[in-house]
Every structure is written in C-alpha cells, then in structure tokens.
Symmetry: C2
Subunit: 194 residues, 2 copies
C-alpha cells in the first residue's frame, strides 16, 4: 500500500503574504494546491478547473447537501468552498495537499478533517501588518480599517492552530513551512516500520 | 522574556546509527548535547564534564533522592543518568537540548518531561539492522543475537514516540531531524505573537 499524502491548511490575515510564501513553496515542493469552487462569474482570463471550479448556485447547494465541501462560506453574495473530492484523490495517491484559505474556513476544516495539519501565517507584529496594508494604497481608509479589525480578531485565533509561522522574511517563512511539511511526514502515526 | 529552548530526546536501537546522525546534526546546528552522569570509572582520555560527569555511587544516589535526574538506569553494575540541572540551564537561556539515550531511558523522560519532543531513529528494515550489526564483526554471535532481540522489542515501541526517522541515508536522516527541530520551534504553543 502506498503512503497517503498529508493535508496542510495554511491561513493567516489578509496582507500577511500567504500568496508570496506559497508560490515559493509550490516552486520548491511537489504538492497539489486545492482549487476552490465559487458561484461568482469568471473574470477575464480565469479558467474553470484552473483558477476556480465555477458552479451555479444550484450545483453549489447540491454539493453542500452531499457533504462535498471541506468548508464553504458566502462573501458579498457569492459562495466559495473547497471541494473534497480532488483533495481526497490526491491524498489517496500519496501527494501532499495545501489548502490556502481564510481563517474562518481553516477553522471549519479543523472540524471536518481533524487530521489536517493547520498552519497560521502571522505578521512579525500587528504594527507591521498595519504598515503593509496601509502601504498598498489600493483601498479606501475604511476598507483598510475593516481588514485590520478582522486581522486583530484572527490573530487571537492563532493559538488554536498546530503551527504559527511568522513571516519576517519570505525566505525564512518558506523554510519554516517546508520544514513543517518534512517533519509531519515523520510523525510516528504516519510511519510504518518494516 | 527570552524564548525557552526545546528538549529533544533521540533514541533508537543499538546499531541504527544515532552517533553518526547526531554528530552531523551537531555540526549543522547550535544545540547543547546533554552529558550523562555515571558511576563507572573513567577510561583513558575521558574527562569529567566532557564525556561524562563521573560520580561516586553515594553522589549518584544522593542525586536520585533529590530528583536530580531526568532518567537513570543501571547496566552491568554501573549507574547512568541524565542530570536535570545542566539541561534546564540551557533550556532557560534559550538553547535547544538533545539527549541521546537508549530506548528505555527515552520512555522515562517521557514521564518526567512530557513536553520533550521524542524522536525514534529506526533502521530501513529489521533485516538491514541485522546486516549492520552482524557486519561489525566485533562481537560474538551471542552478543549480536542479544542486541537483535532487544532491537526487535524496541522497534515495537516506536509508535509511542512523536516522530520516527528512518535512517535510509545519513544525509536524509540528518535533514529530517533538522526539519523536526525547525518545525517544533513553530508549534503554536511555543510562539508568542506581538
């Protein structure tokens, strides 16, 4: 029997740098990145099954009824969710899977998949996150303020995760995530001796 | 307040290659290696406080009475133990500590220090361990047979450890141990957010 893959859930507040860190992890490690399903319309250039699985609301609700999501939520009138089937297919064939999702979704996965390894990516400090979000300059002051409020709450949830990686530099955060992935493969319950 | 160090206990059957793997870990990482205390006589060239802490039996028993050992045992009429004080001093100042001890001692540390991270170094297979121990050619057939009997039992205890690292190659085993040390520093309960 082949060794099963490990499910990693990576989350963190908006602006912490999840995308940058995970793009580098992906470059360095053979791993399947979960693709979300959504009921929102595809944007220019977005492909079904690549950027998202685009579903109608009926299809989405059907999948909820079938228990087909690891987590799902609604934001601004659109549904988003993580379909279980492709994740499970990759785990079965021995590939590690990374879900990059927002904090509430990560908490949901904890309930649906208690065996998932959950990593919280945190800023070096709240002040630093404030600086990064304000520095973007692409949003209104009000929008930034709301993101920071959410982030403040999300940071209080960090202790509920298995690991907290502080994104001081991308290089160090990537090294930490890769070390966690390597270490988890050595967890006693995952190793069979011959 | 400074971050405390982490206590790692590394064990595995005789002949598995603990010494070789840990010498390389020591070369690559700043870590304190615990020094055992013993009542046996120093051998030629052995220095007190470097190779062992050499104690009289009275001193050893006094230390047991004071709860001064993380684990201790008697082999062929000599007492061996891991003194708690130097380990705790290094942990307090933020240095990670490695204890390399035999399997029964590692089980004892689990009880005295439930926060210790316990790693079991295992051979690729029992047959491979047999080959390595027989190949040494420095012991009688009977001594090798006894080591193998002990090893067989010890391998059944591997699932009680936190991690099992299979020593396929020294390089890979060293990388696994270093990844575990890096990952454990990211454990949520050890990270304080600011």
């Amino acid at each position: 029997m082949n060794k099963k893959g490990i499910l990693f859930v990576i989350t963190g507040p908006s602006g912490v740098g999840k995308g940058t860190v995970l793009a580098e992890v992906r470059r360095q490690k053979d791993v399947y990145f979960s693709i979300s399903a959504t009921t929102r319309q595809p944007r220019e250039g977005e492909q079904d099954g690549v950027h998202y699985f685009f579903l109608t609301r009926e299809q989405f609700e059907q999948k909820i009824a079938e228990n087909g999501f690891l987590e799902h939520a609604e934001f601004s009138g659109n549904c988003y969710g993580t379909p279980a089937a492709p994740v499970d297919a990759h785990l079965e064939e021995g590939t590690d899977v990374i879900l990059e999702i927002e904090v509430q979704g990560a908490m949901q996965v904890h309930r649906s998949r208690p065996d998932a390894v959950r990593i919280f990516l945190a800023p070096p400090s709240y002040a630093e996150l404030e600086k990064r979000l304000t520095g973007r300059g692409t949003e209104t002051e009000e929008a930034v303020r709301m993101r920071l409020e959410t982030a403040k709450h999300e940071l209080t949830l960090a202790p509920e995760f298995d690991y907290v990686v502080i994104n001081n530099t991308v290089e160090q955060a990537v090294a930490d995530v890769l070390a966690i992935m390597q270490a988890e493969a050595c967890r006693a319950q995952r190793v069979t001796l011959h």
